[in-house]
Amino acid sequence: MASLKLSHIYKVYDNGHKAVNDFNIDIDDKEFIVFVGPSGCGKSTTLRMIAGLEEITAGDLFIGDTLVNDMEPKDRDIAMVFQNYALYPHMTVYDNMAFGLKNKHMPNDQIRDRVLEAAKILDIEEYLDRKPKAMSGGQRQRVALGRAIVRNPKVFLLDEPLSNLDAKLRAQMRTEITKLHKKLQTTFIYVTHDQVEAMTMGTRIVVMKLGYVQQIDTPLNLYNKPRNKFVAGFIGTPQMNFFDVTLLRHGEQVTVTFDDGKKFEVPFETVSKVHDHYLHGDKTVILGIRPDHLCVTSEDTGIQAKVNVVEQLGNESILYGQLSLDEEVELKSRNQIIIKIPSGVTYELGQIVNVKVDTDKIHLFDKDSELTLMEDVPEYTIVKAKVGKKMDMLGSKVKLPSAFVHAIEGLNEVSVHIPPDACIDEGKDYSLPVHKVEEFKDFKLVTLVLGDRYLFLKTNKDVKEGENFSFSLRNEKLRLLNGDEVLLEPVSEAESLLGTFVKQKEKVPFVKVDGHYQEATGEEPEDAKITMKTRVKFYFEIEGVKFLSPMEKVVKITTIEGPSCYKKTYKYVLDRKNIHFGEEGQGLHANVKEVVDYGNICFARLDINGQELLVEVDPSFDKLEVNVYFDGNDAEVYQREIDMRIC
């Protein structure tokens, strides 16, 4: 009965292999979370870190409100069910279930009550005297569950508990575990490589691959809105079909053309969130379409395919075909097409059929990054802007920010990437008609009509379809391009500085309070007796300037990195708002290279012995040298070699 929080969790083995990479998730109380992924993706390692069987290299793990990183498994108030059941072979079922309680020195009659109650829930009452050897796989798994239940834990961890069972028993146990979750009203974390188990059991699913989280979402969202090709292919059986295609827009239709020239049309509205430059017919993208969303039609309008195999499953059939009608072409996966067809319909091998695509259900992925092109909130919209004295963009002429002047020198027209969060609701620079408004958890996404295309912006204003929406843009968030060449990158949220981690012995003033020595805070009464004591202090040192490190960060850096931490260079990442200007002699001394004015906001580009830093300033800022400082508490420390966030 507790929530869980995994924050920047890493697992790095001694040989440098990163098994889990920056794992972040907030698990609510009573959730059923499933970690799913192919073997070696780090799902079991993550679970074992939660259990305390594996050390967490970096990051914080909270169960409830308690940080449990260094807690023994038994103190974490968790229970775990193992893949091979891990029942103690020499003990009876009763002793197996009672073992944990006996270790807690619980009175015998209470133990008996708990075990009997758990046995009743799991229907294993008559086996309590048996040894595990004399039981079937399903019964053993129940005992393993029972051993977890009796401990009455805050969190249930299940590590592929059903993979040793046969298919029928697995389906049965699946529903039983779901029922158990409802009955116990506890947080469950379940690891599996079986996507059917994941889809049927989880309230939310974490899809992992090679130590990276691919997507965390509800089963339906994973199925309908996979964030990349891996998730799309992993979720759903039979697997999604993938084809290399190009997209060409003409008017309200987009033509999808396959390698071999076969084509079909989709309405522009379905692919409206795809970036414009994919729609010119010259960029290959990956089309994903599930077998369920394809059907064989009698009309001769669809795509032609040749039947290779038909698998009769009884309730339905699965047709494996190939797009290439040519005998000679080898059966490549890109060429293969899988279609779910009603049972009873028969096709002859080699028969040519027409396949119709449900155009509402297609998925598109970038060929290189394999990320979806149809995000709910597109990363940015590409628009053209005429530049001169003014900037003519989105149908309005606005003052050209001086920050852009240098970048666009000699050009009349540039492409601009506008991210949805660049919108300033209060502004009035631009005004465009609203096409659609989508509600999200903490914002609205408004689709604005921009000629024959759309612009997507996040807003919190009340907007209605058909009305005009007035806004300004955060110029610092825009990216300017000339063709594919980036002219100006958007300003990042955080700044980073390289430095080292040092320790030194210091004389520190102490005062005696209530008989105990405490470090002086400087607010003591004048007559307080100050004693100097030698203490070791730890600092982040950047370009020779030391910033005191808080003790919790010291502990993390030294435990994760060991003695070598004093020899390495670290990346200190700071939120820009945490960088302050200081007096002469305070903090880092910096030369002001230039002041960049984005119109709505101004930055000063500082040079600290070759390291660059961008800080926010007033438009009237005119100093040539400044001092900047930050609080050690605000600095995030990153290990540079394997790019790992330490704290």
């Binding site: 305390g52 775990m80 073992f99 944990g100």
Partner: protein, 285 residues
């Protein structure tokens, strides 16, 4: 059909050859034992018994062993005590070290194991002079305590077979027990040891047999103190001294037969576990 028949024939011939070979081997192995057993009932008590047929068979030599003035019962008891104590201490250390090496992960684990392997290559009696001097220094020479110490001092080093056995016990059992709140010691006593009966028995038998049959160390350590001798040592003196070789020669054979009884009975009683212990450890040894 012809093919099937010829294959049967072939197997038959093969089996016959193998069995003849095995029978020959077992005869070769059994001859000395049968010979000793036979001589121990010989009526003559001198060296001549080895080459002459007995006039009659007698139990006299067995009676001689336990007759008044015979030190044999004393030696037998000495050996039994030393062997039993060694067995208990040895098994405890072997199990503890094997568990540590199999389950716990610490910095120099692998280094320690290889150092141990290299040390194990030197024969134990290399150190006997040193051991004797050390025991003399602490006034434990010519005592059974000293002898027992000498047998048990390196006992933890023989952990390899037991570690191999422990390695075959699934680690998820340990992990389940850890989650159930058991400490390392509790995991060892409550989970691992009850599952390791075969290897415990194997270690018990092995560590019993060492001292029971050893001659070198007792000869070095016990020297002339005949009331502290073990059977192996005492009986060897029978063959070694001129006057006894002609008066107690066959007593030696009778004594040898009696020595083998404890070992044999231990073997027979634990045969089932013993085999499982050797092979179980071998899977992943």
């Amino acid at each position: 059909m012809a093919r099937v028949k010829s294959m049967k024939k072939k197997t038959k011939i093969q089996n016959t050859i193998i069995y003849i070979f095995l029978v020959l081997l077992s005869i070769i192995w059994l001859i000395p034992i049968a010979y000793i057993l036979f001589i121990s009932f010989h009526n003559d008590n001198s060296k001549g018994a080895m080459v002459t047929m007995p006039d009659y068979l007698t139990f006299q030599h067995y009676i001689n062993l336990f007759a008044k003035g015979s030190q044999y019962p004393q030696w037998f008891l000495n050996t039994l005590i030393v062997a039993l104590v060694t067995m208990v201490i040895n098994t405890f250390f072997v199990m503890a070290v094997a568990y540590t090496m199999s389950r716990l992960r610490f910095k120099s684990r692998k280094t320690l194991m290889s150092i141990n392997l290299i040390l194990g290559m030197f024969p134990g009696f290399m150190s006997m002079i040193a051991i004797y001097n050390i025991l003399k220094l602490v006034k434990l020479d010519q005592t059974l305590v000293g002898l027992t110490l000498c047998y048990t001092m390196t006992s933890g080093m023989g952990f390899y077979v037991a570690k191999g056995f422990f390695d075959t016990i699934s680690r998820s059992l340990d992990e389940a027990a850890r989650i159930d709140g058991a400490t390392n010691a509790q995991i060892f006593y409550k989970i691992i040891l009850p599952l390791s009966k075969p290897i415990i028995v194997y270690t018990l038998v092995q560590s019993f047999m060492g001292p029971w049959m050893d001659y070198i160390f007792c000869n070095v350590i016990l020297r002339n103190k005949s009331d502290q001798w073990t059977v192996a040592m005492g009986m060897y003196k029978w063959l070694n001294t001129q006057e006894k070789v002609n008066t107690q020669f066959v007593d030696f054979f009778a004594g040898s037969v009696l020595i083998s009884i404890p070992i044999m009975s231990v073997f027979l009683a634990t045969q089932k576990y013993y085999i499982a212990g050797v092979t179980g450890g071998a899977v992943k040894g």
